[in-house]
Structure formats: structure tokens, C-alpha cells
């Protein structure tokens, strides 16, 4: 083998010339980028600030004094938010994996569960998250069942988990289906059972492939757990007893959703 050594090399004059030209081109591009950014962003800012309602919008939404005042509360809320995200995320992972496996299995014993999993995904993916939160948060305590927590944060999180599991299940399922059948054939021909093939060959590859869309879902989960706060701080049992406390809009949305499903399944 010839020795591959770069240390003895010094660039030719032509190469030095080329490097000089590349640097010049780079400088020019940086200047163009800076000027055009300044122009575009400056114009946008100007349009915003000179708009007739800017002063009132600014004092309503972007009041810095108010921002300083609420900072501690926001941080406390954020902490709860993070806790809900991670606990909910773990539950979503487990349920979604179960749903995805059920939907991809060919086992005849699991046929009814496969149908149920499909129905579950279709229903929860089709419903607005806010409706599920209101329904679980106010509806479940109103049932008056014993042994079921009436903690609004818990119920709100359950609602988020129910909805997100449907989305995440589909992401995982798409990963499972993306693994080429030859991988399965190779595993089965080595004597691995279908369960072992899924566990050791298909799933590890499938999960790796769907990490980017799963991160998408994780980020929106982080934001959507904040919606749990619409259930308010009042005890949900009491809130449910007072009929008026259930927002009228919930009932309206529920029927809207029902009609939406009926039109889908026709």
C-alpha cells in the first residue's frame, strides 16, 4: 500500500487563487444576506409600529411591567406543565405502542381488539382536544362513580393522554409498516417467532425511523398540556353539580362532533 500522507502537500498558486476567489464570493454573500434581512425585517417592523392600533395592542399584549409581575406564577405553571408532559408522555408512549401493535397484528385471537384499536384511533384523532378535556374534566366527576379521582389536573391529563395516544399510535404504526418485509423474512427464517421478530428486529428500527415526528408530537404535547388549565381551579365535582358551570359550548361542540363523525362514517 502506498502511504497516504498530506503533510508534504502545499497548495499550488492556482489553488491559492481559487481560495481567494471563494473568500471574496463568501464576503459578498454575507453582505447581501445582511442587507436583505435588514430591509425585509425593518419594513415589517415599521408596518407594525406605525399601524393605527399598535399602541393599544402593545399595552394589552406586550406590557413589560405586567410580564415582570406574573413571571413567578408563570414559572410555577411551567413546572406543573413539565411534570404533566413527562408523566403524560410516558403513558402516551405505552398506550400508543399497544394500539400500534394491535393495529398491525395478524393474530386471529386479537381480531376484536384490532377493530377496537382502529375505532379508538379514528374517534380520538377526529375530536378536538379541548372537547375531550371538557368532557373528561366535567363529565367523569359528574358520573359520581366511587374511586375515581376528581382532581382536575389528573382528569385533564387523562384527556390529553387519550387524544395523543391516538396520534402517536399512528406515527408508530407508520414506522412499523415502513420496515421492509425482507427484514421480517430474515428474522423468521432464523426461527424467531413473530413476537420476537417484532420485539428485536422490527420495532427497534421502526422507532428510530419515527423519532422526528414523535418529537413533533412531544413539542405540541408540551404546549397542549397547558389547555388542562381551562378546567379551572375549582373542584370539578362541585363545578359539575352546578349545571351552569359546564360551558354551554361543550354541549354544542359535542353535537357538532357527533355530526362530524356521522358524516365521516357514511
Amino acid at each position: 500500500m502506498t502511504e497516504r500522507n498530506n503533510s508534504a502537500w502545499s497548495p499550488s498558486s492556482r489553488e491559492l487563487e481559487r481560495q481567494g476567489s471563494r473568500r471574496a464570493i463568501n464576503r459578498k454573500q454575507v453582505i447581501i444576506a445582511a442587507v436583505s434581512s435588514l430591509l425585509v425585517l425593518g419594513t415589517l417592523a415599521l408596518v407594525l409600529v406605525t399601524s393605527p392600533g399598535w399602541q393599544s395592542v402593545k399595552s394589552t399584549f406586550f406590557d413589560i411591567e405586567y410580564g415582570k409581575e406574573v413571571l413567578p406564577t408563570v414559572i410555577k405553571g411551567l413546572w406543573i406543565n413539565l411534570q404533566l408532559t413527562f408523566m403524560g408522555g410516558a403513558a402516551i408512549g405505552v398506550i400508543a405502542l399497544g394500539l400500534a401493535l394491535l393495529r398491525t397484528t395478524k393474530s386471529p385471537t386479537l381480531t376484536p381488539f384490532r377493530f377496537l384499536a382502529t375505532a379508538y384511533v379514528d374517534i380520538f384523532r377526529g375530536a378536538p382536544l379541548i372537547l375531550i378535556i371538557l368532557l373528561v374534566g366535567f363529565g367523569v366527576p359528574a358520573l359520581g362513580l366511587k374511586g375515581i379521582s376528581s382532581n382536575v389536573i389528573f382528569l385533564g391529563t387523562v384527556a390529553v393522554v387519550l387524544t395523543y395516544s391516538a396520534y402517536v399510535a399512528e406515527v408508530i404504526r407508520s414506522g412499523i409498516l415502513s420496515i421492509h418485509p425482507s427484514q421480517r423474512a430474515a428474522a423468521r427464517s432464523l426461527g424467531l417467532s413473530s413476537g420476537q421478530t417484532m420485539r428485536y428486529v422490527v420495532l427497534p428500527q421502526a422507532i428510530r425511523r419515527v423519532v422526528p415526528p414523535l418529537l413533533n408530537d412531544f413539542v405540541s404535547l408540551l404546549k397542549d398540556t397547558g389547555l388542562v388549565s381551562i378546567l379551572g381551579v375549582t373542584d370539578a365535582v362541585r363545578a359539575a353539580q352546578i349545571n351552569a358551570a359546564v360551558p354551554l359550548i361543550t354541549r354544542h361542540m359535542l353535537w357538532q362532533q357527533f355530526y362530524f363523525y356521522s358524516s365521516l362514517f357514511q
Binding site: 423474512a185 430474515a186 424467531l192 420476537q196
Partner: protein, 248 residues
């Protein structure tokens, strides 16, 4: 000498297309049977049927005298006795070479991780791949990948090895390194069924060569007889085309 594999009047179709038509074949212990024939003649399907990756429409397949086409049989038990190597290698990309090889011994045969690792390393050294044990498949050349795939199928001590056009995806230099493994295995007395387009190689290892056409074996016999003095006009035609392509 007992028969490891026996196919009796096997029939298989995909939709309207008849792929195996009343095909019978006997593979005695320690012999290599080579299947030749044009693409679509049913070679791969035959191997996949033996490995129970496809369900046959009629006929019977026996492994060591036991019918494996009985629907009540445990397919995983049968596949444990068969090694299969594919044209496209099909290594598990998320596992290292060593993990690829030890997966089945550990999970299927219940060997300890240590035991499986020692056995796998012995096989890797034997075929000059010891330094690749901790690499991932995508870091290997095609020839190396296919040799690992062969070792993976050997690691479960199969009774019968099924090789499905294992050199079709490789360039001529790599073909040779893969085929030398097969020659070694033949020397060990491994029973094999191979589908191949490498006629020269077929001459070297085959105890019997079968020419397949439209799902049936039109001509069978020693490599010398089938490849060099074919009697069936269709075999003659096929070999003439192979010859023209410079593959004989």
C-alpha cells in the same frame, strides 16, 4: 444416506400465475443441489416454500422424513432447522455483526450470551471476519455483508442451508469470496440447496443440477451432464444464452 429434504408434486401459484407446477425433488444428506433457470422460473419460490415463508397450494414437503406442510406443525420449530440466505443479505441494520449472528442462538436456542458470542467469534475468525465483529452492517462491503449473512444462518446449526441467489448483488471479485465459503461448507458436509446464476460455481459444488422452467424441473443430473451435455432443447437454449452473456 438419508434424504434431508423431499418435495413431492409441489404446486404453488400467485393469483393466476402458476409458479411451481407439480415439482418433485429429493436432496440427500451432505449433498448440494443447484437450481438453475431464468428469472421467474420458480427457483426462489421453491426455496421460500421449503422455508415455509410461502404456503404451497398442493403436494407435500418433507424434512428428515417428517411432513412440514402439515398446517398443524409449528413453523418456528421447522425454520430453526433451516438456514436461509437471501440475495439482498437482509442483515439487521440496527445490530452489529456480532449481534446479528448471536440473536437467534440466544433468543431461539436459549444459549447464554457468552456461549453464543464465543461460537459467533469462532465462525467469524474462520471466515476472516473477526475484525468486523463490532461493526454495523452498513460499514461492510457487499461481499462481507453476505458472508456475515451466511454465518448468521450457520450459527443455529441448520440441518439444511437454502441459498437464494446469494451472489447476484455482488461484483465478480466479491462473488468469489462468498462462494469460497460455500465451497468450505460443502467440504464440511453441509446439505444445501442453492439457486444461482454462477454456472462455473455450480459445476464445482453441485452433486445435482436441476434446470427449472415455468415451475418445473425439465432436466436434472450431474453438473457435467446438465451444464455441458444438456439433452432438453430448453436447457440447451438457456445455457446458450448464459454462454453468450459470458457467464459459463
Amino acid at each position: 444416506m438419508s434424504n434431508v429434504l423431499e418435495l413431492k408434486n409441489v404446486r404453488k401459484s400467485f393469483g393466476d400465475e402458476l409458479v411451481l407446477n407439480d415439482l418433485s425433488l429429493v436432496v440427500p444428506e451432505h449433498t448440494a443441489t443447484v437450481l438453475i433457470g431464468a428469472s421467474g422460473s420458480g427457483k426462489s419460490t421453491l426455496l421460500r416454500c421449503v422455508n415455509l415463508l410461502e404456503t404451497i397450494d398442493d403436494g407435500q414437503i418433507f424434512l428428515d422424513g417428517k411432513e412440514i406442510t402439515d398446517p398443524l406443525i409449528n413453523v418456528d420449530d421447522i425454520r430453526r432447522k433451516l438456514g436461509m440466505v437471501f440475495q439482498s443479505f437482509n442483515l439487521f441494520p440496527h445490530k452489529t455483526v456480532l449481534e446479528n449472528i448471536t440473536l437467534a442462538p440466544i433468543k431461539v436456542q436459549g444459549k447464554s450470551a457468552e456461549e453464543a458470542r464465543i461460537a459467533a467469534k469462532a465462525l467469524l475468525s474462520r471466515f476472516d471476519l473477526a475484525d468486523k465483529a463490532d461493526q454495523y452492517p452498513d460499514r461492510l462491503s457487499g461481499g462481507q455483508q453476505q458472508r456475515v449473512a451466511i454465518i448468521r444462518s450457520l450459527a443455529v446449526n441448520p440441518r439444511l442451508l437454502l441459498l437464494d441467489e446469494i451472489t447476484s448483488a455482488l461484483d465478480p471479485v466479491l462473488v468469489n469470496e462468498v462462494l469460497s465459503i460455500v465451497r468450505d461448507l460443502k467440504g464440511d458436509g453441509m446439505t444445501m440447496v442453492l439457486a444461482t446464476h454462477e454456472m462455473g460455481f455450480a459445476t464445482q459444488v453441485a452433486d445435482e443440477v436441476c434446470f427449472l422452467e415455468s415451475g418445473n424441473i425439465l432436466e436434472r443430473g450431474s453438473a457435467q451432464a446438465v451444464l455441458h451435455n444438456p439433452t432438453n432443447p430448453k436447457t440447451q437454449e438457456f445455457l446458450k444464452r448464459v454462454h453468450q452473456a459470458g457467464r459459463l
